[in-house]
């Protein structure tokens, strides 16, 4: 089966610039969704940052995201921001929350769900998709009812 990725590789613009983000993407390349968790106070944080906003500690552990995820909000984009996206509109952008974590979310896409079926609060399940060599994205599909 040939896999085409949901959105095409957009080149240099997608590359991480902050060293704090490198580990996040390195784990993604291994198909592990991990977030920073403060070793001193135990609070999770995202996006990656050099210091814990709760206690100021720089000591950090990268912990696996919980499996329970849901659609916190979304948009369906109809305007192609770059020629590479012209054949891909309309596409959705999902804001995915993890009910077991407070205010940890990621920007992602939901696969295989028509725009009119997207619902805030719908349960989602993580899948991985390679967008470009070395760039593996955490994406989501509709979670199966009571898996």
């Amino acid at each position: 089966m040939t896999m085409t990725s949901y959105l095409p590789d957009l080149g240099p613009i997608t590359a991480p610039q902050l060293p704090d983000h490198f580990a996040f993407w390195d784990y993604c390349a291994k198909r592990e969704l991990r977030f920073q968790c403060c070793s001193a106070c135990g609070q999770w944080r995202h996006p990656p940052a050099p210091v814990c906003p709760h206690c100021g500690s720089a000591a950090v552990e990268w912990k696996l995201a919980p499996s329970r995820a849901e659609l916190f909000s979304y948009t369906v984009v109809h305007h192609a921001s770059t020629p590479a996206l012209r054949g891909h509109v309309p596409y959705n952008i999902a804001i995915v929350a993890f009910p077991d974590l407070v205010d940890i979310r990621i920007v992602s896409n939901v696969l295989d769900v028509p725009p009119q079926e997207l619902r805030i609060g719908m349960p989602l399940q993580l899948v991985w998709q390679e967008q470009a060599p070395g760039r593996v994205l955490p994406l989501f599909v509709r979670a199966k009812a009571t898996a």
Partner: protein
């Protein structure tokens, strides 16, 4: 109304001049360039104030204006440059922040006359709907691979959540777009002057990023705007009617540093509500006025839902009531809270919000093309949905 500021009355900041260039569609003034437009607006502002431009002592701008202080000093012949400031913030969220810097400079005695300005000539490849402009956003790697590449798509999920939580409908967004376009029909400076908008046109327009249709998004324009800020004491020697700055501030709620330019991890309770509540509280407290004393507002309208959120964040209506508020006709000319009386960024021009301050000054001088009778206190906001944003309260 009483002042909560410790500054002596004679030292309080006033806006004594406003200046603008022609406002046009994007690219129409590209042959002149941003420096020329900045100078034209600056000279118009000093002429309006009755001041010699060589007596400007301070410069304040925002959002990476390219008319750098040394260029402005050179062209305007500034003799005693004592203050130069650039406010952080993407888009126009620094419009009132740069005014705040000017106020701080004149009230602290760092500079007597401060020019606040913003000049925009939009270049190919810097269109707001194009991906090119975001390569310098340090957290773009968390957004771009998923196709989140333009301001509309960065902010749309927050608007979607807002509409979901509070029952805001497309008709409410349309009312904002139509009200501002209607105001532009009385303002000859407005780019959309002579181009009224109907509800049918609004509904039929192409979708950009749901829930945002074309007319929910601000324009792309060329032009420049400038303000001249000085002390009340100096204003007495000038010919015009000064407009007092009751307060001008920047701010942002906790957690918003990871918002639309990060990973959308702002606190869940306010994800779909903008980022103005804390700033709003500070702003009114410093001004010594309450929202009930505001006669009109110029609200940063980069997107129509941001106007509804701002009405709520800045206390002009209750939380979640923005939709009902606009549906009742309150933001229209003759309504209880007229908004964006020159047409706003949606229909006058998108000069990154500084033109909203200029229109507030006109209102308080009694010179607006959609004059609010007896206007005494006006609110101006700059940006919502990013951090920091800024706002100001002005009074006649």
């Amino acid at each position: 109304m009483s002042s909560a500021s410790p500054v002596r009355e004679s030292q309080r900041a006033c806006i004594v001049g406003i200046g603008e260039t022609r406002y046009t569609k994007r690219g129409e003034q590209a042959d002149r360039g941003e420096w020329a437009l900045a100078c034209e607006a600056a000279l118009n502002a000093t002429r309006d104030a009755g001041l010699d431009p060589r007596n400007i002592e301070g410069l304040a701008s925002y959002s990476g204006d390219t008319s750098l202080p040394w260029l402005m000093q050179h062209a305007l012949g500034i003799q005693h440059l004592r203050f130069a400031s650039m406010v952080w913030g993407g888009g126009g969220s620094g419009a009132c922040g740069s005014l705040a810097h000017a106020v701080a400079a004149v009230e602290s005695g760092q500079a007597a006359n401060v020019l606040v300005f913003r000049s925009i000539v939009q270049r190919p490849g810097s269109r707001y709907g194009e991906a090119g402009g975001f390569s310098e956003v340090p957290q773009i790697d968390l957004l771009a691979p998923f196709g989140m590449l333009m301001p509309a798509s960065m902010m749309a999920p927050s608007f979607m959540r807002y509409m979901h939580e509070y029952g805001i409908r497309t008709e409410h967004l349309a009312e904002v777009a139509l009200a501002f376009r209607d105001n532009a029909q009385r303002n000859p400076r407005a780019v959309m002057h002579g181009l009224p908008l109907s509800i049918n046109q609004y509904m039929a327009a192409r979708m950009i990023a749901e829930p945002l249709r074309l007319y929910d998004c601000c324009q792309e324009n060329d032009g420049a705007c400038a303000l001249l800020v000085t002390t009340a004491e100096r204003a007495r020697d000038l010919p015009g009617k000064p407009v007092r700055v009751l307060s001008a501030q920047q701010g942002g709620n906790p957690g918003w540093g990871s918002a639309t330019m990060g990973s959308h991890t702002m606190p869940a309770a306010e994800y779909g509500w903008g980022n103005g509540e804390q700033l709003s509280n500070d702003l009114y407290a410093a001004a010594g006025v309450s929202p009930s004393e505001v006669d009109f507002a110029q609200i940063y309208d980069h997107f129509t839902p941001a106007v509804l959120m701002s009405l709520e964040n800045f206390g002009l209506c209750g939380r979640g009531e923005g939709g009902d508020f606009v549906a009742a006709g309150k933001i229209r000319r003759g309504g209880s809270m007229p908004l964006n009386t020159a047409g706003g960024l949606l229909s006058e021009a998108y000069i990154h919000g500084l033109n909203l301050v200029a229109e507030a000054v006109r209102q308080l001088r009694g010179e607006s093309t959609s004059q609010v009778p007896g206007a005494r206190v006006g609110l101006v906001t700059a940006g919502i949905g990013s951090t920091p944003i800024s706002a100001a309260l002005l009074a006649a």
